[in-house]
Amino acid sequence: MTRYHGVEVIEMTKNLLPVALLVTAAAACGPPASPPPGPSDAAALPSGGTVVIGLLSDVQGWNPYLADDLDTAQLLALVYPTLAIEQPDYHRHPPSFAPALARAWTWSDDHLVLELELDPRARWSDGVPITARDVVFTWEVQTSDDIDWLHSDAKGSITAVEAVDDHTVRASFSRVYPYQLMDLNDGPIVPAHLWSSIPFADWRDTDWLPRSVAGGPFRIAGHTPQQQITLERNPGYWDAPLPALDRVVFRIAPSEQSLVNQLLAGDIDVLPSLPPADLERVRAHPGIELVIYDDRSYTHLCWNTTDPRLADPAVRRALTAAIDRQTLVDVVYGGFGRLGVGPILSSFWAFDEGLEPAPHDPAAARAGLAAAGWSDSDGDGVLDRAGEAFTIELLAAAENELRQDIALLVQADLARVGVAVEPRFVEWGTLVAAVDAGDFDGVVNRWEEPTQIDLEGLWRTPAPDEPTFNFGRYSNAEVDRLLDEVAGLADFAAQRPLYHRIQRLIVADQPYTFLVENTRLTALASRIRGAEINSATPYFNLERWTVGREPAR
């Protein structure tokens, strides 16, 4: 289960992969970086230049297995290598992979054992070869209870990772399923020769910056906490292409407003996620291009299905019908974003094309609520039933302005059908505690989806008293049965019809009001050439970026 929610866009290494490629206007007219020279060809180093990228928060340290935020993962993915590179084809079938550190691999006949051949050229920036030892060490890190890596679940079906020789690794699996290589590949390879001497129990108290070494295209060149992170080209990078840029600077600012100001003032070249409220300001600026793409996340209202007022699917359908989601997309997201349909994003292969977004229909909403026994018997404008007013508390993270905007709009829409909404904006930790305990009516939330289809964590009936992402305690025996059936199938094509049936059941039950499938706006200075921005990471092909001229300041 790799699914994240959070104040920032939280999404992790499983998804460090290209999706829904959208090339900028700049990339279309500018030539891509010329074929790069080999790493030893120092005389022909590429053109150079610096790109400045805006960030809202500093890295959570320099160890990819101790951080749990997207920014840190994306940044360290530039420094540490992965075995293979996921290809941007997740929407047609489970993603395929291209060689990276592993230059080839073969499956056993029963598809339970995978042998990978590592690239013999691979070197850390200190000259030490990257070998099977690093891969095995990384697996130990990923599955260590002391380290408790956020994504260790992905390794649940892997029984062993062993070194056959310096350049051959063998991985064994307990079952056959469509995402075996994806799960093995999850997480970057880290240096055994520098890190294995520290007991795992001490990792959280270790300063990792002095122990950093690069196996990817960039290396860490400097860090001023809360201000700036500087990466520079790793001259010892073993794979092609060597980056054209000689420096990448990450500038940290405390607010989105400050980042947008710096973007407009030319102090920042790239803003990975532009707040839609600032769209017009940025669009009007001649030196900045916008890249707009689906970011594989959806924002929704999660209803507490154990609440007596919200337990009836008909009531939840009425609430969904009462919300003018198109206006919400227009106002909150500047018109960018698709109306949500169901639990599988409409860009995925498993999506049921026969489903449509639920229409905005306040009259139907009123009828549905009336049929469920709600009426305004005391004439105060708020529905009531058996003396109880229909008043819902709607939680949203205090740190997230978009979600607060959504809560305010939902409040206005539901007021028109007689449902009183009390928005409550609470600090993230408080919100998580409340939804974990099931102590809420409704919550504005957003899920960042992995590139695989995984409905287990959100939609299976949760075990009592165990932590779950199924915050609303949704339970449908038929959904549970179909999920069991899906898990037994090794072939994704056979899974598809089952996924269609699950989606229809969930859409009919509306445990969520699926508001919007999000679109992300990335702002780029137009002097940057060759950038491919996609939903996995804005830095997907950073090593191929070039710049027209140095920043003005």
């Binding site: 600012a253 400050s258 102090d267 930790g429 998580v432 140095e550």
Partner: protein, 323 residues
């Protein structure tokens, strides 16, 4: 004078102790707060206990207090909940930018304040006096975050004269010494102006009143009678005695400056103590909040001490009062 200094320094120590104790009382002893911040919803009971033991929360309160106070005395302000780095290291990094910004603002506060006050006192109730009084009132009343936001909009975004934020350009580490200094000063102008402006209004107002008071005193009339030029009377004979209380005023403006730095540093992403405090508050990073709050209080205590002593050094008459 030496005895005065020693006495005041001795008095400072219990005040600092009191400040530290109050901070501890508010943060740690307040029911639930510190323990809640350590707790994380995802933890199981054993992990929670381990964490509480690590932060000493399983100890009785008085023991927590004593070990905390001991650590503070040794210069150990704890470890940030968020970044896991020692708070002292964080402060060591954040303090120089704040001192720079505060120093520049104080300088502006003083120079602008004196200039405006002198110009206004030259012709009391003349046009400059009236205009500057009204403008000063307005400046003091406008919220600093509003002024700072407007300054960014106008001078950074519309005119492009100054950078919108940060202390150095992204490429500053590659600049030569001189260019780097120029870059720093370029970044300093807007935040220092925003921070110093409100203080300057107060200084000018106070100094103007003091100047007018002194003007009517006998020794000024005597100087005038001796036929000294009006300019000399104003700059030498009136300003000098009026500046004495202004020294105290600068001591008093320190808390305002320290508070103001939070807003200004936030608007301008200035890497100082105020910004660190706000970030810590957003993340409920209590060790950092406690340390910075204490630091702020100690700075105010030391500031007022320096102002008092400076005043005493400049004016023998004041020494008796300060005993």
């Amino acid at each position: 004078m030496r005895r005065l200094v020693a006495r005041r320094l001795l008095l400072l120590a219990p005040m600092v102790w009191l400040v530290a104790t109050l901070t501890f009382a508010v943060v740690v002893a307040a029911p639930g707060s510190y323990a809640d911040a350590v707790d994380h919803p995802g933890l199981d009971a054993a992990q929670r206990e381990a964490l509480r033991a690590r932060y000493g929360l399983d100890q009785p309160l008085h023991r927590q207090y004593l070990s905390w106070l001991g650590a503070v005395l040794r210069g150990d302000l704890g470890v940030s909940f968020v970044t896991k780095e020692p708070v002292t290291r964080l402060l060591g990094r954040a303090l120089p930018p704040t001192l720079l910004l505060g120093g520049a603002a104080l300088l502006l506060d003083f120079l602008l304040g004196v200039a405006v006050a002198v110009a206004a006192a030259r012709r009391p109730h003349g046009w400059f006096d009236r205009v500057s009084t009204v403008v000063g009132l307005g400046v003091a009343g406008l919220p600093s975050f509003w002024v700072a936001g407007l300054a960014v909009l106008v001078f950074a975004l519309l005119l492009g004269w100054f950078p919108a934020s940060h202390m150095l350009s992204a490429g500053a580490d590659r600049m030569s010494g001189g260019a780097r200094l120029a870059d720093l000063l370029h970044h300093l102008v807007l935040p220092a102006a925003c921070l110093g402006l409100a203080g300057a209004a107060g200084t000018a107002r106070y100094l103007r009143a003091a100047l007018l008071d002194i003007r009517s005193e006998r020794f000024i009339l005597a100087a005038r009678a001796r036929g000294l030029s009006e300019r000399r009377v104003l700059w030498v004979h009136t300003l000098r005695p009026a500046l004495l209380p202004a020294i105290t005023l600068l001591g008093l403006s320190l808390p305002v400056l320290v508070s103001g730095s939070v807003v200004i540093e936030t608007v301008f992403s200035w890497p100082g103590v105020g910004l660190a405090l706000l970030r810590a508050a957003q993340a409920r990073d209590l060790p950092v909040i406690m340390a910075i709050t204490m630091l702020g209080a100690v700075a105010v205590l030391v500031g007022s001490l320096i102002a008092d002593l400076g005043y005493a050094a400049a004016d023998p008459r004041a020494r008796e009062d300060l005993r």
